[in-house]
């Protein structure tokens, strides 16, 4: 099964990639690991006439910590996140999500940046990056800018990236010592996309009152969903079944899942409610572990 013909360029640096993207405009696509794009091209869901391969650009695959943030290069593959000691200690919520993406082969090639730019509504990194209040560093002809994750996703498979922009880095503020996070996903089978998924990162004070919470949901609408309405219910409260039930209700109100072979909208709403309550409990228990 072959994709339609295209011309292929290997960019040596971000500037060159951006220049090629500007030259070929809407007919060009960036390819990194290609684990979403190539299947899309085979099915003719994407028909780029020009592919700009950024995988060989040096310096875009790294995980480090600076100024209270974990920074992950856009070309970092899922497996590296899965195996990273820094991620395990600083952002365990990402350690939850990484092994749930695709299968080992996909995780060996697929990249964090590629997955975010592909913007699959049922993708795993979207909800996690939203819950962590991450920022996305984009480089284009007009220089560099940082977008907040909540502003990045526009529609299914569509982001705020300009045609000549390349996502280069994801910046994730490291939550404090009394913070815990969890990502839960329900899938029909190992490696499948989510029927629904929820990411929760919360911070409790000494009395167990929630000081801060980020909630991200996957397969909950046409984009990964940040849910301020549900966060507001939990903030300032102790984690209890009653509080979480109300947060779950708000999430299901905010969600507008796309009905598909993985479930009806109504069913996915019910899954989201259950996952939010469970993920928040796990996140809260992890706060205690870290104290």
């Amino acid at each position: 099964m072959y994709p339609a013909s295209f011309d292929y360029f290997q960019a040596e640096n971000v500037e060159q990639a951006s220049r090629l993207l500007r030259e070929y405009g809407e007919e060009a696509r960036v390819i990194a690991g290609g684990q979403s794009l190539i299947p899309f091209m085979k099915y003719r869901l994407a028909l780029p006439k020009y592919l700009v391969d950024i995988r060989g650009i040096p310096g875009l695959s790294f995980i480090d910590k600076k100024d209270g943030c974990v920074r992950i290069g856009a070309l970092t593959v899922h497996r590296e996140i899965e195996e990273s000691d820094l991620i395990r200690s600083q952002l365990p919520i990402m350690r939850d999500a990484a092994p749930l993406i695709g299968d080992p082969q996909v995780r060996n090639l697929g990249t964090l940046g590629g997955a975010l730019c592909h913007a699959d509504p049922a993708g795993d990194w979207g909800p996690v990056v939203l819950a962590l209040e991450g920022r996305l560093k984009c480089v284009g002809a007009n220089g560099e800018r940082e977008l907040e994750a909540k502003d990045f996703f526009v529609d299914a498979y569509s982001t705020r990236l300009q045609p000549d922009e390349v996502l280069t880095e994801v910046v994730l503020p490291v939550p404090g010592a009394k913070s815990g996070g969890a990502y839960l996903k329900l899938a029909r089978r190992t490696g499948d996309f989510a029927m629904a998924s929820v990411a929760v990162q919360l911070t409790l004070d000494e009395a167990g009152v929630c000081q801060h919470i980020g909630i991200g949901a996957g397969a909950a609408g046409r984009t990964p969903l940040r849910v301020p309405d549900a966060e507001g219910v939990v903030r300032g409260e102790k984690i209890s079944a009653t509080v979480l039930k109300e947060a779950a209700r708000r999430l299901s109100q905010a969600a507008d899942p796309i009905p598909d072979l993985r479930g009806s909208g109504e069913y996915k709403r019910e899954i989201l409610k259950a996952l939010l309550q469970r993920a928040a409990q796990i996140a809260a228990s992890r706060c205690k572990e870290r104290r």
Partner: protein, 164 residues
């Protein structure tokens, strides 16, 4: 018609060079140009793992990678796993445990097992199952495949070593 690109790929230690259309998939470079037909095409849509090979030491699905992306890289296919007619310990274990029926998924399974054991020399059964979760066996002979990989791991030593 887009420009053809010159690619050079080292496969099982030997260099292969050709001018190819950018849309040529790695699996078709392996099978059609290098004439190494041990790597199979199953679903051709990144689901079944029959086309699994190693690129620079990690497993990839060669149906979901363009040959141009593999330019300058090193590929290991099933043909490079046995050495001098001696089965690799993982292959021997597959044989001993009757871990293949029709054999179609086997090359991919062996490569995935090799990668798993290179990362986790003593995997649990669950880790083995997750390690081959990207490989489908339509004979559903999973139990023997899992047994074979666990047994290969128990032999210890350099089972996860890649053939050099």
């Amino acid at each position: 018609m887009p420009d053809r690109k010159r690619v050079e790929i080292k496969i099982n230690g030997e260099s292969y060079s050709a001018e190819v259309e950018p849309r040529l998939l790695l699996v078709d470079f392996l099978r059609g140009i290098a004439r190494l037909t041990g790597t199979h095409v199953g679903c051709d849509s990144s689901n079944c793992g029959a086309c699994t090979v190693m690129m620079d030491g990690v497993t990839v699905k060669s149906c979901t990678l363009f040959a141009v992306q593999a330019n300058g890289r090193e590929i290991l296919t099933i043909e490079g796993v046995a050495k001098d007619g001696d089965l690799h310990p993982i292959q021997q274990s597959f044989r001993d445990h009757h871990a293949l029926q029709c054999g179609y998924c086997t090359p991919g399974m062996v490569l995935s097992a090799l990668f798993l054991l290179s990362k986790k020399p003593n995997p649990t059964e669950r880790e083995v199952r997750l390690g081959v979760s990207g490989n489908l066996c339509r004979c559903t002979g999973y139990q023997n495949i899992v047994d074979a990989i666990l047994a290969a791991a128990k032999r210890g030593g350099q089972v996860g070593r890649r053939p050099t």
